[in-house]
């Protein structure tokens, strides 16, 4: 008889990390957000945010687009379809985990 796997096994290590979960949460409500906006919303340093963006981009969850406004470089970040799906799956797994532990 096969038992349903524990919800914690459905947590995606790439998304589950607190900062990366925050990045995807912000991008779930926007078509795009720029680097500065994400840094301020999440209270991170440039280096820290860059590292997490790289991890999510490598996983195919984000798309980065660099542009110039006058002479100022600007990086816009968008969630991919896979990124939005990964966030939805993570939230569902967290809810299931809470329900299981509460029940």
């Amino acid at each position: 008889m096969s038992e349903e796997p524990h919800p914690s096994r459905r947590l995606d290590d790439t998304v589950h990390q607190r900062v990366r979960l925050g990045i995807l949460a912000v991008l779930a409500e926007a078509d795009r957000a720029d680097f500065t906006y994400l840094r301020e919303q999440l209270g991170l340093t440039d280096g820290n945010l860059s590292r997490h963006l790289q991890v999510l981009e490598d996983a195919g969850y984000l798309r980065l687009r660099r542009s110039f406004e006058g002479r100022r470089p600007r990086t816009w970040v968008s969630a991919t379809k896979a990124g939005r799906a990964a966030l939805a799956a993570e939230v569902a797994a967290l809810r299931q985990l809470i329900a299981r532990l509460d029940g």
């Binding site: 607190r18 949460a25 957000a33 720029d34 500065t36 906006y37 919303q41 999440l42 939230v91 967290l94």
Partner: protein, 182 residues
């Protein structure tokens, strides 16, 4: 993972989503702009015939849409967060086409008032896109007024309906202006 950690993570996700939603939407601007334009339409209704009000909206509608798009774009550059313009653009186009057809396919006083039904429905869609209950209430008020005026066909129906739309949108937009980031 402990339950309190999962609860905290969900709470943080929810908080970030709500904050981003409130910062990326600029619901007040089109409400104020189209509120003012609707009040102008009330004057046009009284000053001219059905064609005058149709001509007024053929100019004011697209101009208001372009101004709203330009405002949203500039605001996104300033705040660093943006919504996708496509659903808004599609809704605006649907309002323009739908309102034109509603005016063309009706007769009598409904020629000037039936397009407002389409506009009110369009505003319900905008409120849904912004997930903004206050804007949805303003659109619902406008829709009830439009249904009532189109169904009963009172004298000066076009001016009455334009004034109701104008006051509902303008007052809601001005009230929201204080709570939204410009």
């Amino acid at each position: 993972m402990r339950p309190e950690e999962a609860t905290r993570a969900l709470r943080e996700v929810d908080h970030l989503r709500r904050r981003t939603l409130s910062e990326r939407r600029s619901t007040w601007f089109p409400l104020v702009l189209f509120g003012v334009l609707a009040l102008g339409a009330a004057v046009a209704c009284e000053a001219g015939d059905d064609r005058a009000i149709a001509r007024y909206w053929m100019v004011a509608g697209p101009a208001g849409g372009i101004a709203t798009g330009a405002y949203a774009y500039r605001r996104s550059l300033r705040t660093g967060v943006a919504a996708s313009p496509l659903p808004y653009l599609a809704t605006a186009m649907a309002i323009l086409v739908g309102a034109s057809l509603a005016g063309a396919l009706t007769t009598g006083s409904a020629r000037a008032t039936a397009p407002y039904l389409v506009v009110a429905l369009g505003y319900l869609v905008f409120a849904w896109l912004d997930r903004h209950p206050v804007a949805a209430v303003a659109a619902a008020v406008a829709l009830v007024a439009a249904v009532t005026v189109v169904a009963t066909g009172p004298a000066h129906g076009c001016a009455i309906l334009s004034a109701i739309f104008g006051l509902a949108f303008l007052s809601t937009g001005l009230a929201l202006r204080g709570s939204e980031r410009w």
